[in-house]
Amino acid sequence: MKSLTLLFTTFLLFLAPISSFGSAVQDQVHLHSIRADFVQEKHLRILAKPIVSTGIFAFQAPRSLRWEYLVPIPSILLMHDGKLSKFVKTDGRFIEDQGIGLDAMQFMLGEISNWLDGRFTDNEMFVASFPDKQTILLEPREQSLAGLISRIELRLADQKGVLNSITIYEGSDSYTRMTFNNAVINKIIPSALFIQK
């Protein structure tokens, strides 16, 4: 189960404000909040064409999150005041989902706090490198995780403090790419967004 938790955790890395990636990449931006739309493409060897999902995410320090998929499966991951929950639309209404993610999110809270403090390279799971000014490459420290995720590429947007995309490679022919649009940073987000389904 540890591997599952770790693996899922990496899918949450986009939450890391770019300020955390260090001044080696760009000037530090102190992030309090971020909100953006995203398009997610899942590529898999057996897929004739990728599965495309869209949604929105919002994060506000210290520990509030809304990660919402609109299509193809409407679902919402909410985190606020230490409470985590995931809902998936089933038979026309949002039903709490007991599946993957919640214990991983507990772990992530600590990680996100680190990143907000600019301590991204302290990450126990990945080694960070910076092949160019726009790219951050993360490679697993442990072989057990490397068997599940070979690498993660983060592409920076022109707007300081914002990611353009994150690509998570599971293997040579399987990856997930999330591309972010319409990002708004450091604007106060009403707490209702992190509570309401």
Partner: protein, 222 residues
């Protein structure tokens, strides 16, 4: 319920159920001469190369559930399948062919249990592949429903009902003639010569019964 326990329940539940709790017995079959035309059971099962993407909701008896994306790719020789979280994480990927059997390409614990793979492939075969083994009888069952009844060497029976409401149904009976699995398609649309359900529900009966609610996201011929 801890996550590990939850998936253990899911895995156990995906295995074919034991003794049927809700016993539904095999209905009698009126022979084929009483029906007009032969039932078009072939239209239930995709022919050629297809790829399906479904939203799959697993629900076990105590009501707990989780939802994933399911990919099923069919050719004449091989079945490929994958389970992916909404967030894009590949949980399980496998291929099955008569030539090479089951090949698990990726399985994140606890999905690395071989019995899970067997159960999953069995569900996929029930839904997408026409029963091949044994004797086939055509006729009608209760309600004047047309049926193709397949009986294999071990006495297991699979009824394929190609015209129920606006779609089709498949019912599988154990050798003691009790229903152990049913698939109910809804809102079928004809694509090529195949009836593709917009929604289908698989129920496995018994102590470790479970339900798969599958909503079609896309069906492609490739």
């Amino acid at each position: 319920m801890k996550l590990h326990n939850f998936y253990l329940v899911i895995i156990l539940s995906l295995l074919v159920a034991c003794a049927a709790e809700k016993q539904i017995d095999l209905p009698g079959l009126n022979p084929g001469q009483q029906i007009q035309g032969r039932p078009n059971c072939a239209a239930v099962f995709p022919q050629g190369k297809w790829q399906f993407v479904h939203s799959i909701n697993f629900t076990v008896k105590n009501g707990t559930s989780t939802t994933v994306l399911g990919v099923t790719s069919l050719t004449e020789k091989i079945i490929n399948c994958a389970l992916i979280t909404v967030e894009g994480l590949t949980l399980f990927e496998a291929a099955y062919s008569k030539e090479n059997g089951l090949e698990i390409r990726r399985a994140i614990p606890p999905f690395d249990n071989p019995r899970f793979a067997d159960g999953l492939m069995s569900d996929i075969q029930t839904i997408f592949l026409s029963p091949t083994a044994g004797d086939v009888q055509e006729g009608q069952i209760t309600g004047a429903l047309a049926v193709c009844r397949h009986t294999d060497d071990s006495g297991r029976i699979i009824d394929v009902l190609p015209e129920v409401d606006d779609c089709w149904q498949i019912k599988s009976y154990s050798s003691d003639m009790t229903l152990d699995r049913s698939v109910v398609g809804q809102s079928c649309r004809k694509k090529s010569s195949t009836l593709i359900p917009e929604y289908l529900e698989l129920n496995s009966y018994g102590q470790t019964g479970y339900t798969l609610k599958m909503t079609l996201i896309r069906a492609d011929i490739f």
